[in-house]
């Protein structure tokens, strides 16, 4: 069933599903409440993996704001031009302090469109001095073409040796525009060509360009290596575009994707698919075991998904202002049924499969 498209976030529409507790209620109700499907906690207990605990911290993921130039139908952030939550410079300074002292080797900036934060460039400049090994910016590509002031982003990324990770739902215009909006495909192609032109994504280049694929509807991604081959072949043949790796990511049933699942009457089937594809081997490496997620207002979370569900870390330390890595790493991770999205098949994280 197709669902009416909207250009507004759930927040702007004052939709019930904009509230985290409403989403959590749905995720714990229905088929999970009546025992038709096992809860995630019950499932990981079967293999002795409850409570879920962090391993070594490797990734600091900072969400610098929910504002975005796009309003993708599947967005787990419920991002859009109408979202006003933006990280202040003051919070960024607190983040910079943490970045200087962290044991993590990867810094991962996300949003919304992180580039829309007015302090974005200053923050990247400062953060890139901290000597972090891998500095990722999740760029949605169209932002590069959205406005003149963003046209030089490829050069800017290059100057600061940023690792660009970009979403690209499909190698065809039809499927891409359906998920992300009219005209997104052409703009993304142009942006990728511009990134290639400054050296990003070329076979021997140190300028890393990876793409993220997520399914365009109520089904799971298939094998990541196979998809990567298809994307590479099609983008090269049709547009002469090159990139390094493809990450296949499962859509988690939260925010706008949850709204879509319910409105299209796919929710139950999707949860069945996730539970049936449960892979205990993926549990050991889910993202929250090596990541801390920081929100625009400085709160700390197990992952970007828990951030959107307003599930702050289960630790004495809950805010960047009181950050303490050792204390934080000694915590139980907060889980709910959305976590099945991270453990289906080969697993799913911001770096693609995990098992």
């Amino acid at each position: 069933m197709s669902v009416t498209k909207t250009k507004k976030s759930l927040h702007k529409r004052h939709d019930d599903l904009a509230q985290a507790n409403k989403q959590l209620e749905i995720l714990s109700g229905g088929i999970f409440a009546d025992g038709e499907l096992p809860t995630f906690a019950k499932k990981i207990k079967e293999t002795g993996q409850f409570p879920l605990r962090p391993k070594k911290l490797e990734i600091l993921q900072i969400n610098v704001g929910y504002m975005c130039n796009q309003v993708c139908e599947h967005c787990h952030v419920d991002a859009g031009p109408d979202r006003k939550e933006i990280m202040t410079w003051e919070t960024m300074e607190q983040c910079l302090e943490v970045i200087k002292n962290t044991g993590a080797h990867t810094l991962d900036l996300t949003g919304g469109a992180p580039e829309m934060n007015p302090h974005f460039r200053r923050f990247v400049e400062e953060a890139s001095k901290a000597g972090i090994k891998d500095f990722i910016v999740r760029s949605n590509l169209t932002i590069i073409r959205a406005n003149k002031k963003y046209h030089d982003l490829p050069e800017f990324f290059k100057k600061h040796n940023v690792h660009v990770v970009s979403s690209m739902p499909h190698w065809t215009r039809g499927k891409t525009d359906k998920q992300r909006g009219e005209g997104v495909f052409d703009k993304s192609i142009k942006a990728l060509q511009e990134l290639n032109a400054v050296g990003y994504g070329m076979p021997d280049s140190d300028l890393r360009l990876d793409l993220v694929y997520n399914p365009n509807g109520a089904y799971l991604p298939s094998d990541q290596a196979g998809m990567e081959k298809d994307f590479k072949k099609a983008l090269m043949e049709d547009f002469g575009i090159q990139f390094h790796n493809l990450f296949a990511i499962t859509n988690l049933p939260i925010a706008r994707f949850l709204d879509y699942l319910i409105a299209s009457e796919n929710y139950e089937d999707y949860m069945y698919q996730l539970v049936e594809a449960y892979n205990p081997a993926a549990v050991a490496n889910v993202m929250c075991t090596n990541t801390i997620s920081i929100s625009w207002d400085g709160w700390l979370y197990d992952c970007d998904f828990n951030q959107m569900l307003d599930l702050k870390v289960n630790s004495k330390v809950k805010h960047i202002s009181e950050y303490n890595e050792d204390l934080l790493n000694d915590r139980n991770i907060i889980i709910s049924q959305h976590c099945y999205g991270c453990t289906a098949g080969a697993g799913s994280s911001c770096q693609g499969t995990v098992a």
Partner: protein
């Protein structure tokens, strides 16, 4: 506006449905093994092996399965292989073309029997 009410599907296994085909039955396919373990297991081992990447890619096999699902007119298979081909990045146009191949063979197979009819007519008529 979304509909938040989600029907609880209780007694899914016990209750007989009022329809010959119930989408929920597809999930129970694996259970055929319970009433004949040896044959069921052999079937699923074989089935799994057939769809592995081989001389044909898993995607090519999924497209063949989709076309055959239609010529067999099996709702479960159509459900399963529509999802499977989507997962494998197959486009709508490719899916429809695959079904036309199935339909063409099906109608061709009907029509080619017309030669039997013609043979018979030629034999019977003076």
């Amino acid at each position: 506006m979304s509909v938040y009410f989600i029907k609880p599907k209780k007694h899914i296994d016990k209750m007989a449905s009022n329809n010959y085909y119930d989408p929920a039955d597809l999930r129970k396919f694996g259970k055929i093994t319970e009433w004949s373990e040896e044959l069921g297991t052999k079937f699923f081992d074989y089935y799994g092996k057939v769809f592995e990447e081989g001389a044909l890619t898993a995607r090519e096999k999924a497209l063949i399965a989709l076309a055959v699902a239609h010529t067999e007119q099996c709702p479960y298979c159509i459900d399963a292989y529509t999802k499977d081909t989507l997962q494998r990045g197959v486009t709508k146009e490719q899916m429809m073309e695959a079904i036309h191949v199935g339909a063409a063979i099906k109608s061709g197979a009907t029509l080619v029997h017309g030669t039997m009819m013609m043979n018979k007519v030629n034999k019977l008529e003076m």
